[in-house]
């Protein structure tokens, strides 16, 4: 197992290198420039040229790539926008993104699994058809549209604060109320973020559960006269959950990618917004670093999925 992980990690080094070269080239070849945003009659072109020299943008692309590697190695990668270390900028937004995605993941798993199981055990019932339809509706909606619909229908009527991670100006309430307030602010973004996940995961769960119930050992157990629920939930569910666990590995990067829009709408101070703003302002060091972190997350997610698969299903030899 350890050897397997080690080998996979070593294998991913050239992949990461490829990604860094590719994204570096793309970002720099893309039109626009970090200084393209300056359109102010009081800023003459000479100033822009001086800034370009200060940012080493006048050097050749390979030289700039070399500088990027050097700065990465020495940990001195700084944002063009505010001169701060890129890592600091990312670290201060990471907790917000993580908590949002954690809550979304909890919602996804705690709703999708029961839903899938129920669908599978009551196959072709009205409930099953309804769930199926709803699942498909869930993955067929633009998330920002759903967000606006919910805001239009629910929030506007309630007249409650929903933006940001907490209500502002609330400084003199107790810890419990403060916590409740934060949880309330998590509600809409995490629910909207999890809709597509619930939809697809419940379909997976249903399929997996059906697959398991066709297995011989279930038939045998039922034939032996064990109660239905006992067979389904003790033996069936456990085996049906195995492939689902592996999905966990893929979920995290997907959620982080999908949260750009949700974070913008709900003024949530996370990584997605940082990435979007950095792209718009061509903040090359920040874009590069977020790119690399996302890539590493994807690779780790894949690895985790493979490892988990080996753990839950001993028949799969990890090689």
């Amino acid at each position: 197992m350890f050897q397997f992980i080690l080998r996979r990690l070593i294998q991913s080094i050239p992949v990461l290198f490829g990604i860094s070269v590719l994204s570096f080239a793309m970002i720099h070849l893309a039109p626009g420039s970090p200084l393209g945003v300056l359109m102010d009659p009081k800023v003459p072109p000479k100033v822009v040229e001086q800034w370009e020299r200060n940012f080493n943008l006048d050097k050749s692309l390979p030289a700039q790539y070399g500088l990027w590697l050097k700065n990465l190695a020495t940990g001195d990668l700084r944002s063009f926008k505010d001169g701060r270390p890129v890592i600091d900028k990312i670290m201060e937004r990471l907790p917000a993104t993580l908590i949002l995605n954690l809550v979304a993941t909890i919602i996804i798993f705690s709703i999708a699994i029961p839903l899938g199981v129920y669908s599978a055990t009551h196959r072709y019932s009205l409930a099953d058809h309804t769930t199926t339809l709803f699942a498909f509706v869930g993955i067929s909606m633009p998330s920002f549209w759903l967000a606006y619909m919910l805001i239009l229908l629910i929030v506007q009527g309630l007249g409650l604060p929903i933006l940001g991670s907490r209500t502002f100006g609330l400084t003199e309430v107790g810890a419990v109320a403060g916590l409740a307030d934060r949880l309330w602010h998590l509600f809409l973004p995490s629910v909207i973020l999890s809709v597509a996940g619930i939809a697809s995961l419940s379909r997976y769960m249903r399929g997996s559960m059906l697959e398991v119930t066709r297995q011989d050992y279930i038939t045998t157990a039922l034939a032996k006269g064990l109660p239905d629920d006992e067979v389904r939930y003790r033996h069936g569910l456990r085996n049906a959950l195995m492939p689902i666990i592996t999905i966990f590995g893929f979920l995290i990067p997907t959620l982080i990618g999908g949260s750009v829009i949700i974070e913008s709408i709900f003024a949530w101070p996370g990584i997605g917004r940082l990435a979007y703003q950095s792209v718009l302002s061509r903040d090359y060091p920040t874009i590069m670093t977020i790119n690399m972190i996302t890539a590493i997350l994807v690779i780790l997610g894949n690895l985790m999925a493979d490892v988990l698969y080996g753990v839950v299903d001993p028949r799969v030899k990890v090689k």
Partner: protein
């Protein structure tokens, strides 16, 4: 079956948790402290007044930092960190080497010619010789008005034209190693020609500026070898060095601004504020390694001296009207920045200033919190705290304002009617300092005929744009200055919407529909162009679409293309790779428009449409060297009129800003002579927040609920 129960209780538990959170938070939503919550679409970048480029940073810097001067509620210049200031001037006369009169004799004659009335009018305090060949005239105001007197009072052969040449070293210079070598070479060439250099100065970005005593033509001839040396070989014909301008200065004027600083001002950390901080701020702005856009405002500063801790004396190369305004720049603390790299300093995120509010905490992309500075030199603010929230989605900002999550909001025009009709809100309005326009690329044959440009303006219904896109929150504009300012002429009428007249003008210019396809054509080419703008600005996009339809009606085919901002500027506007654009200018308070309209700015500057009018050039140059408002007014009126006649832009509209507050939530409290006066908040010419220090949040105000 335990597993089954747990499984199906899970979603219920999650749902219950959120319900509990909602119920737990509900009773507390109304408990707010004595503070004001502002909001912005984007987060601030750098809380450092010399580095910031975004509006969020500027807004917040305004609360934390002070400049030496500021604009008051009526947009007049008043003292801030400086208690008072004086503008004086030293005018220097250089005598011809072979002149019969000595410097002493010249000074004596001038003094004799000076009648008391002239002396008073021109505010001349002293005329004295300073060397064998130089005479100085000291004045109490800055300006070039004294010139007429000097020229009239002395025979012409006494002084000589003083010629200034700016030699621009482009970054890819091949002939000279640098400015030092260039200026040395220039000295040699000039002395060969028998000319002497009065002074040379190497300015940032490799520009060498030199003054020499001699006729312009002689200087040009003498410098020819250097100018030609710059010509590249073969295809690269770009000169490495070129003579960018030669101006004749019979007399050289050096304005001197002396600021007397307030004593007893302290930084937020308790250290005293002194003239050293001002000097430090200036040096940092001028340092080429500093990533600042403020440098051009200070380029004409010759030197800055600090004779004592509370005096700052700034000498300029030549009269430059916007120079005083540039000292509204926030001053940064020397004692903290001294050993830091200003571009990357952590102080840019943790600012220390002298202003009414102190920085408290910055939660990235969420909120920036400031607290009152009890030791502020004009007295502590009434509010305890100020929060600046970041809300990226415009419609949700409205929602947040309605539920009092934000205390001040500026609605977009289409949102305005909901604010103004709602009795819970009080909406203010004020015309903005900017305008939106369509700029035509005048390098293209299509737009070179002024009749064509006038026709385009006649064909565009600006009244309709203002009425339906701005919902009447704005006025059509007529030229480069918004109508509310003193430098905007009162009697220029916008070209009326008149498609028939547009048709006639185009007909005169040779554009008519000869092939019956509904499009105007000339020499077989249909009248067709691409109108570009940036995506993300809905007002501009909608304007472009309306213009497209209106021009279609008179037979002009317009194609609309949208680009992301950075791409638009970098790849379309800067390389002049466009036909027509919809854009807007936000302006400062000084009317100087050199960067936008002077013909020297067409290649690389912001005169990207390529407008050239020698008369306008002359007026712009005159305007920026004149300090007196009365003298400047006709100059700028004329500029406005000339540009209006030429129509290099179709000037579309000046929009109104409409900040809104909750009715009765905030009021003003001023303490004067042991007496407290409470007033309603009113709009000032300098915006709603000008008297912000005196605002307070009204307690026990009747709460309106949405239900």
């Amino acid at each position: 079956m335990a597993i089954k129960r747990v499984l199906f209780l899970l979603p219920v538990a999650v749902a219950l948790l959120f319900v509990a959170a909602f119920l737990g938070a509900l009773p507390n939503f109304d408990k707010k402290v004595n503070q004001l919550v502002l909001s912005s679409i984007g987060d601030a970048e750098k809380l450092n007044p010399i580095l910031s480029v975004d509006s969020a940073s500027s807004d917040i810097n305004g609360f934390i930092f002070n400049g030496l001067v500021k604009f008051n509620e009526n947009l007049e210049m008043v003292a801030d960190l400086a208690e008072r200031w004086t503008v004086r001037q030293v005018s220097r006369i250089y005598l011809r080497p072979q002149a019969a009169l000595s410097a002493q004799e010249t000074a004596r004659r001038l003094n004799a010619a000076l009648e008391p009335k002239t002396r008073e009018d021109l505010q001349i305090t002293e005329i004295r010789p300073v060397s064998e060949r130089e005479v100085e005239v000291l004045l109490d105001t800055a300006g070039t008005a004294v010139e007429e007197f000097l020229v009239a009072a002395l025979p012409k052969e006494v002084f000589v034209p003083l010629t200034r040449a700016d030699l621009d070293l482009s970054s890819e210079q091949k002939v000279f190693k640098g400015p030092k070598e260039l200026s040395e070479k220039v000295r040699q060439e000039l002395s060969k020609a028998g000319l002497s250099v009065v002074e040379t100065k190497v300015k940032p970005w490799g520009t060498v500026s030199l003054r020499t005593v001699g006729e312009e033509e002689t200087v040009r001839l003498a410098l020819r070898p250097i100018l030609e040396a710059g010509e590249g070989e073969g295809e690269e014909k770009t000169p490495a060095v070129h003579l960018s301008s030669i101006e004749s200065f019979p007399i050289e004027h050096r304005p001197v601004i002396t600021f007397s600083l307030r004593p007893n001002v302290r930084w937020h950390d308790g250290e005293p504020f002194t003239s050293k901080d001002v000097e430090f701020t200036f040096l940092k702005v001028m340092d080429p390694g500093t990533n600042t856009v403020r440098r051009p405002m200070f380029e004409l500063v010759d030197r800055l001296e600090t004779p004592d801790p509370h005096t700052v004396r700034v000498t300029y190369w030549k009269p430059f009207a916007p120079s005083l305004e540039s000292w509204a720049i926030g001053v940064i603390p020397e004692h903290l920045f001294r050993d830091q790299d200003i571009n990357t300093s952590s102080l840019n995120r943790n600012p220390v200033g002298t202003g009414p509010f102190k920085f408290k905490v910055w939660e990235a992309d969420e909120v920036i919190t400031l607290v009152a500075n009890p030791d502020y030199f004009e007295g502590a603010p009434n509010l305890r705290q100020l929060s600046y929230r970041i809300i990226p989605e415009p419609p949700l900002k409205e929602l947040e304002f309605f539920i009092e999550g934000v205390d001040l909001d500026t609605p977009q025009p289409h949102q305005y009617h909901r604010y103004i009709t709602d009795e819970r809100f009080k909406v203010y309005e004020r015309l903005g300092n900017g305008y939106t326009y369509i700029g035509y690329n005048l390098r293209l044959p299509l737009f070179q005929d002024v009749r064509v440009r006038q026709a385009l303006t006649h064909a565009i219904d600006r009244e309709a744009i203002v009425k339906f896109l701005l919902f009447d929150l704005g006025v059509p504009s007529t030229g480069p200055f918004p109508p509310q300012f003193w430098y905007s002429p009162p009697d220029v009428k916008p070209l009326p919407y008149d498609p028939e007249k547009a048709g006639r003008l185009l007909d005169e210019a040779g554009w008519r529909d000869t092939d019956g396809d509904g499009l105007l054509d000339k020499d077989g080419e249909p009248f067709r162009f691409t109108l570009m703008t940036n995506n993300g600005n809905n007002l501009r996009i909608n304007t472009a679409v309306l213009v497209q339809r209106q021009l279609e009606e008179i037979g002009i085919d317009v194609k609309i293309e949208l680009f992301e901002w950075s791409v638009f500027i970098r790849d379309k506007v800067n390389p002049r790779n466009f036909e027509a654009v919809v854009l807007g200018w936000g302006l400062g308070l000084d009317p100087d428009v050199y960067e936008i309209w002077h013909s020297s700015q067409t290649e690389k500057g912001f005169n990207f449409v390529g407008y050239r009018n020698p008369e306008v050039d002359r007026l712009i140059e005159a305007g920026r060297t004149t300090f007196d408002r009365e003298e400047r007014t006709p100059i700028y009126w004329k500029i406005h009129e000339l540009i209006h006649e030429d129509q290099p832009y179709t000037f579309l509209y000046v929009g109104k800003g409409t900040p809104a507050l909750h009715e009765g939530k905030f009021r003003l409290k001023r303490s004067t002579d042991r007496q407290e006066v409470v007033e309603d908040i009113t709009m000032t010419e300098n915006g709603l927040l000008y008297f912000f220090k005196d605002w307070f949040r009204v307690r026990g105000r009747a709460v309106f609920t949405s239900s």
